[in-house]
Symmetry: C2
Subunit: 238 residues, 2 copies
DNA sequence: TAGTGGTCTAGACCACCGG
DNA sequence: CGGTGGTCTAGACCACTAT
């Protein structure tokens, strides 16, 4: 600690975080100003600011102009999830990817789908049902609704060949997305599609996207039995 | 665009991201050096670096020293999940929180639990089973294993009153965590505990934490029927 | 080894918001 | 209004790694 020791913002973060873990400051407490940390730790204010921003992003502290920096009152476990294109997810596991379009038609959406997309009036949407396979076994069933008003060029895509999942992710960036994760029991149809016992517990990822205020698509991705979504957290305290 | 317009790193990010969305650069392409962007966009290199870091964190580009900056080849949907303390999650919904310890004992863990924690030798662990309630209805069942070697002071906690969940999150920071999300079908016991039909599909959050290399705890949090985990993404393209 | 991103500094000004 | 965090700049040096 005597040697300046090639200070870096990670060391500064570690030093400050250490004080928090050591309970030098308790949840709700106000921390010293950045400038004071800078003097005490022997670095510039910008470096403290870099460390503090990281602590704020990770949820350890909250910062308010004029108010100052406070130790977070309600700790949360903050994780980052990556949801890849399904084909890449399958291939990443070393499995052979397969894809099959089940159905595709223009139809009026049910109320819950219209609500998800925030559609005030009932318009016909493009509904796509498709199956993704890993090593010839069902991997994920995709029940998708696309807004042709927002995505007119979906009409030019050969959905027999290219999955709507991949085409949309690659070609239609979104500005906002809602994600939901939950579990459902397989009904007879889902059981048949996913090769699961009727009643089997299935993990579901539901995703709805917008570009600006215009809804793009909403998809209910029902995974085959045994599917798990994984992630890891590396805390700043290394 | 003529006026420098109080440039900020968010505008720089937007400008660069715009070029990506406009397909000026395709996935895999190498982007200009930061310094060139700085000259072109009329800001300092540090500002470009701030914008680029944000694009890298959000997954839009990949940066390598000496190599340069590249448009990401495999787009992913990257979401941030906040998993709060269960009590706060319930209270956040405006419901009355309740808690009940179901069981607590020292016992040898089964192989899968030992594997999760990375324990090479079989040692007795503290197993805690507890129920969390929302408005007097079962909300979440917590099946937890704690390593007393790592967390000896768990012995002093009155687990009848305070949930292990809350005590650990508040008092035992971790340096690494594994998270899994999946679905299971309720067996008779879970059905009884969570007031669910046997066979009902239940959403499960499994979390294992370490401090350094020492395992702290692993918990299987089984949620009551209807539970959904939600999150939102706000893209940089605003 | 050279090119690129990553970081640090000192100083300045701005934006927000609590008192 | 004043204090605090947020950002920008110009320049310098460092760290990594592709060539």
């Amino acid at each position: 600690m005597n040697r300046p020791e090639r200070t870096s913002w990670k060391e500064i973060r570690k030093a400050i975080h250490g004080r928090l873990l050591n309970a030098d400051y308790l949840p709700g407490d106000r921390l010293p100003r950045d400038e004071d940390w800078a003097r005490e730790l022997g670095c510039s204010r910008a470096t403290v600011q870099r460390a503090m921003r990281d602590l704020a992003v990770s949820g350890a502290v909250e910062r308010r102009r004029k108010g100052g920096t406070f130790v977070s009152v309600n700790p949360v476990t903050r994780a980052t999830l990556d949801i890849p294109i399904t084909r890449l997810e399958v291939e990443e596991k070393g499995a052979l990817y397969g894809y099959q379009l089940v159905d595709r038609k223009m139809v009026l959406p049910p109320a819950n789908v219209a609500a998800r997309l925030g559609l005030s009036r009932a318009r016909r949407l493009l509904r796509i049902e498709a199956l993704h396979f890993a090593d010839h076994r069902p991997y994920l069933f995709e029940d998708r609704w696309v807004c042709p008003q927002t995505v007119p060029d979906i009409a030019d895509v050969d959905l027999e060949t290219e999955s709507a999942n991949e085409w949309l992710v690659r070609n239609k960036p979104f500005s906002r997305a809602d994600l939901r994760f939950y579990a459902i029991a397989a009904d007879d149809r889902l059981g048949g599609l996913l090769d699961a016992e009727p009643g089997a517990a299935l993990f579901v990822i539901e995703r709805t996207t917008w570009i600006g205020d215009a809804p793009i698509t909403t998809v209910t991705a029902v995974t085959a039995p045994g599917y798990q979504l994984l992630t890891q957290i590396q805390s700043a305290t290394l």
